[in-house]
């Protein structure tokens, strides 16, 4: 097996227990300056009713132990910084470090959301420039930066649609969602008070426009569309789809998860989209951080503008910026204290680095996906063969014949030094391999990835057991997920004291 691995990544295998297991009373990793006011006695001032003795079980360790503990844990992670992380739909691109620096500046990280607006002009200018930039990229009229992440952006968007339709006299009942959509779409529609109606994709993986025409009635509030779709395919009939919806008074929502295929090339606003969210942690490179934080701004057409979550950023005379909380038709707040400002700062830093050159990033992302597709389409099945945009979706149909499935191939990729692609999604492709390289990969990295997947395709035929038992080089082998769910252990507990009595 080893001669095929050109990019060997050896995972660190040192052991590291839980921090609680290292604890020993009396050790400490933190000191405070001495108290410079008279000490109040909490026992006296609060009484026994309110006071606790201390947090039972909290770790007691030294500073070096804390640093080492978390550093060791970090070595068990794969990361973009280590290599290609081609998770489809997740847009794992390079996270520029200058963005981390500027988000931590004194005067940026230190600002309190309730401080006077005259002392927040710098923050507000950052928000204003980001708003303008995102509007330019999306081709929309108005925006809110408040939502915390994509799913909350979806909710905000649907609530905007609902508020608009309510003002027309009827909020309507249903939201249409293609069967290829992200799970957040239907979950969100329910919270917004809508029934979900699924639309089956047609044989090429696109929205079935004739079917859509039948389904769009006066009961339909909106269609939630992802474009490019989760198959990485551009919905060519987007303007027609928009027209069908608008003809019945319904609106078009776009899930912007795949905006990395469009930025600088085409604008959803021009395609007839009424409202969309952006995932700044995808398209605008803010770090995923092991699952968040993100930011999910929602851009919209003018008709939805009055309903934006309060407060709204406004420019007063003399260029002074202010937050306007008096918004009678607002859908309300979706998060306390405005948006995830620190994430918004990073997104603006990213955009400033590119300027209009953002288009080149999009082109490179699409180039990489197509290059990988070209070099793998003879060894993996391509269930939908329309042109690919920023990602390509294969299936494991050919490998299945030897009992090897997409998860096995994914695990084997780990041995070759790559993070797996997205497995088993979209749901309309059984055994999907969803590959999104992003623009951050060099030709060399793409070539190594292609070599790895071709080698695994070969192994699947010649030595399927090797693939089915992968990964072989990681600190832990495949983990027992069934046992984890059957008898959940979701926290550490101190070892039980020995007890004679059984139950």
């Amino acid at each position: 097996m080893t001669d095929k691995i050109k990019k060997a990544s050896r995972h660190t295998i040192q052991n590291e227990g839980l921090i609680f297991e290292k604890s020993s009373p009396g050790k400490r990793a933190f000191d405070l300056a001495p108290l410079d006011v008279p000490a109040a006695d909490p026992a006296k001032a609060l009484g026994a009713e309110y006071r606790r003795a201390g947090v039972e079980g909290f770790p007691e360790v030294s500073e070096i132990e804390v640093l080492r503990h978390f550093t060791r844990l970090s070595t068990w992670n794969f990361a973009i910084d280590l290599g290609m992380y081609p998770l489809g739909s997740c847009t794992m691109k390079y996270n520029p470090r200058v963005n981390e620096l500027v988000a931590r500046l004194d005067g940026i990280a230190t600002e309190h959301p309730y401080q006077p607006q005259e002392l927040s002009q710098g923050c507000l200018k950052i928000l204003q420039l980001l708003e303008k930039s995102l509007l330019e990229i999306t081709g929309m009229d108005a925006i809110t930066l408040q939502p915390s992440a994509g799913a909350q952006g979806e909710l905000t968007g649907l609530l905007l649609i609902r508020a608009y339709l309510e003002r027309q006299g009827n909020a309507r009942k249903k939201v249409l969602i293609p069967d290829s959509a992200h799970g957040t779409n239907p979950a969100t529609a329910v919270i917004a008070g809508y029934q979900v109606e699924s639309i089956k994709s047609e044989s090429h993986g696109q929205i079935d426009v004739d079917k859509l025409r039948e389904l769009v009635t006066e009961d339909v509030a909106a269609l939630m569309i992802t474009n490019p779709s989760t198959l990485g395919i551009f919905e060519e009939r987007m303007p027609e789809i928009a027209a069908i919806l608008h003809g019945k008074g319904a609106l078009l929502y776009m899930d912007g998860a795949n905006m990395n295929a469009l930025a600088g090339v085409a604008r959803p606003g021009d395609l007839g989209v009424d409202v969309m969210h952006l995932n700044l942690h995808k398209t605008m490179s803010t770090p995923h951080g092991g699952g968040g934080p993100g930011a999910g701004p929602v851009a919209m057409k003018k008709i939805l503008e009055p309903f934006r979550p309060a407060p709204i950023l406004v420019e007063k005379e003399g260029g002074r910026l202010a937050l306007d909380f008096q918004r009678k038709e607002s859908i309300g707040k979706v998060k306390a204290f405005g948006g995830n400002f620190g994430v918004l700062v990073r997104a603006l830093a990213y955009l400033l680095a590119y300027g209009p050159g953002l288009r080149q990033a999009t082109e490179d992302a699409v180039l990489n996906a197509n290059y990988i597709r070209k070099h793998l389409e003879d060894v993996f099945e391509l269930p939908y063969n329309l042109p690919s945009m920023h990602e390509v979706v294969f299936s494991d149909a050919l490998q299945k014949k030897n009992g090897v499935n997409t998860m096995d191939i994914a695990k084997r990729l780990i041995d070759y030094g790559f993070h797996p692609y997205t497995t088993a999604f979209p749901l309309i492709v059984p055994g999907a391999l969803m590959i999104e390289p992003t623009e951050s990969e060099s030709k060399e990295e793409c070539d190594l990835f292609i070599d790895a997947l071709r080698a695994i395709a070969e192994e699947s035929a010649t030595n399927p057991e090797l693939v089915k038992t992968a990964p072989h080089t990681t600190r832990v082998r495949r983990l027992d997920e069934v046992a984890a769910a059957r008898k959940p252990v979701l926290r550490w507990k101190p070892a039980e004291k020995r007890s004679e009595s059984a139950d």
């Binding site: 978390f70 992670n77 794969f78 992440a149 995923h288 951080g289 699952g291 951050s440 060099s442």
Partner: protein, 448 residues
């Protein structure tokens, strides 16, 4: 462009391999009229140095050099170099949600430790991997209570953070939840008589915050008893986590919705923070958000995986417990590192310092004619005072002395016309408190 790892020749080579004549060919599925003909009108491109310069210039237009007495849900606590060092490690910073467990054990074990510490802090049995923030955690806790009880009425204390209540109302509007607010009593805590009157067997959750928005500490146990007597669940929101180093945990609550910003996260003009939900083991299958569980690998070694995913949107779609996907993982990691650094003693000492400084600040303010403690209930590091003059006028005077004054309670509570919410933490020095009190005295003495 420095972020893009391709030379023009490599791009050509790749296009040729694909069999495309130009890059435009790869975008041919976008109908021609909709392809942008002009470059985007965006500022930049800027070099790294120019980017830093731009943000430094913006920082200089903010509150740099001011002393602040603001809290109200966002607290200025000490943060450690160690925390920042850890969360800037690329292995944590630039990784995704740990779906591929074999190469995500670092993130997974850290989440497991986070879940454990949140349980220890709150006196609850199980905690999730994080929610967006305290406000959405509180809302999701209520939705969880609705699923658990099958009831639709929510009683929320008016002394819960106004923005938390706003967020709940936004979510509730279309999910058939009926939200009613319970007033506060003269001493600043929940009006228990009003609660009793409103509590019927159609209530899914009673929601309080402790310490509440006025800084007053609520007695959780009797509230839990009242709620449980009618089959309702008690949801306790905690906005100031450091208080849990000194105060009894809300162990009697059924669900705790917490904001972890106080644990090593910068105020950052309102985010990103980290919400978290803690609850009882028996309720875990109705919890929203990700959970990490312990298991073993095929060779018997301990390892961790995301578990009970059948609650989540990527599996259950419209039947999921929540639509949340991306959460606040890196913020939760920061909180984990921070709490590990503080440890048992450090957290207690930090909490005691907050308490002592707030007591000192109140005693200094109470010496001033025209300042009165508004509520008698015990408090942690925030308290409400009533001034003889409008808080806005006083704050305007304070600004001239480079002090950002306390939160103006009159905005969300029109009846509290002259009430100010004062916050001090371990970062506020005794000298700053004295200077603040002197400035308040001058502001109140000044002829109108």
């Amino acid at each position: 462009m420095r972020y893009l790892p391709k030379s023009p020749a490599e791009r050509q080579e790749m296009l040729a391999a694909i069999g495309a004549k130009s890059i435009d060919e790869l975008f041919s599925s976008i109908p021609e009229p909709y392809r942008l003909k002009k470059p985007l009108h965006l500022p930049g491109p800027l070099s790294e140095a120019e980017i830093i310069e731009y943000f430094k210039a913006r920082a200089a237009e903010n509150s740099f050099g001011y002393t602040s007495f603001l809290g109200a849900g966002v607290y200025n606590h000490l943060r450690s170099v160690i925390t920042d060092t850890i969360i800037q490690r690329g292995e944590f910073l630039t990784s995704y949600t740990p779906y591929q467990a074999e190469i995500s054990q670092g993130t997974l074990q850290a989440i497991f430790e986070f879940q454990t510490m949140i349980c220890q802090l709150t006196g609850q049995e199980v905690a999730n991997a994080s929610m967006y923030d305290g406000s959405t955690a509180t809302t999701e806790a209520v939705l969880m209570a609705e699923r658990l009880t099958g009831r639709r009425r929510v009683l929320i204390a008016r002394s819960v953070h106004p923005e938390y209540r706003d967020v709940l109302k936004t979510y509730a509007k279309n999910s058939g939840l009926q939200v009613e607010e319970i007033p506060f009593a003269a001493k600043g805590t929940l009006d228990t008589r009003a609660l009793q009157a409103a509590l019927k067997d159609d209530v899914c959750a009673v929601v309080v915050q402790s310490p509440n928005f006025f800084g007053a500490i609520e007695s959780v146990a009797p509230l839990a008893e009242s709620a449980h007597a009618t089959g309702a669940l008690l949801v306790v929101a905690v906005t100031e986590g450091v208080s849990l180093g000194l105060l009894k945990p809300p162990a009697e609550a059924d669900i705790v919705a917490m904001e972890a910003q106080s644990f090593g996260l910068a105020p950052s003009y309102g985010g990103p923070f980290a919400g978290v939900i803690a609850s009882r083991d028996k309720f875990v299958r109705q919890m929203p958000g990700r959970l990490t569980g312990q298991t073993t690998d095929s060779e018997g070694r301990r390892g961790f995986v995301l578990t009970l995913a059948t609650r989540e949107q990527h599996i259950r779609r419209e039947k999921a417990t929540s639509n949340i996907c991306t959460n606040q993982a890196l913020c939760a990691l920061a909180a984990t590192v921070h709490l590990t650094l503080l440890g048992k003693e450090g957290l207690r000492e930090m909490a005691e310092q907050n308490f002592s400084k707030a007591q000192f600040a109140l005693s200094e303010l109470e010496k001033i004619p025209g300042v009165r403690r508004a509520f008698a209930a015990p408090f942690f590091n925030e308290f409400t005072v009533e001034l003889q003059r409008s808080v806005r006028l006083v704050n305007a005077q304070l600004l001239r002395e480079k002090i950002i004054g306390p939160y103006v309670l009159g905005t969300p509570y029109p009846e509290l016309t002259k009430h100010a919410l004062v916050c001090v933490t371990e970062t506020t020095t005794g000298a700053e408190i004295t200077r603040f009190a002197a400035a308040v005295r001058r502001a109140l003495e000044q002829p109108l």
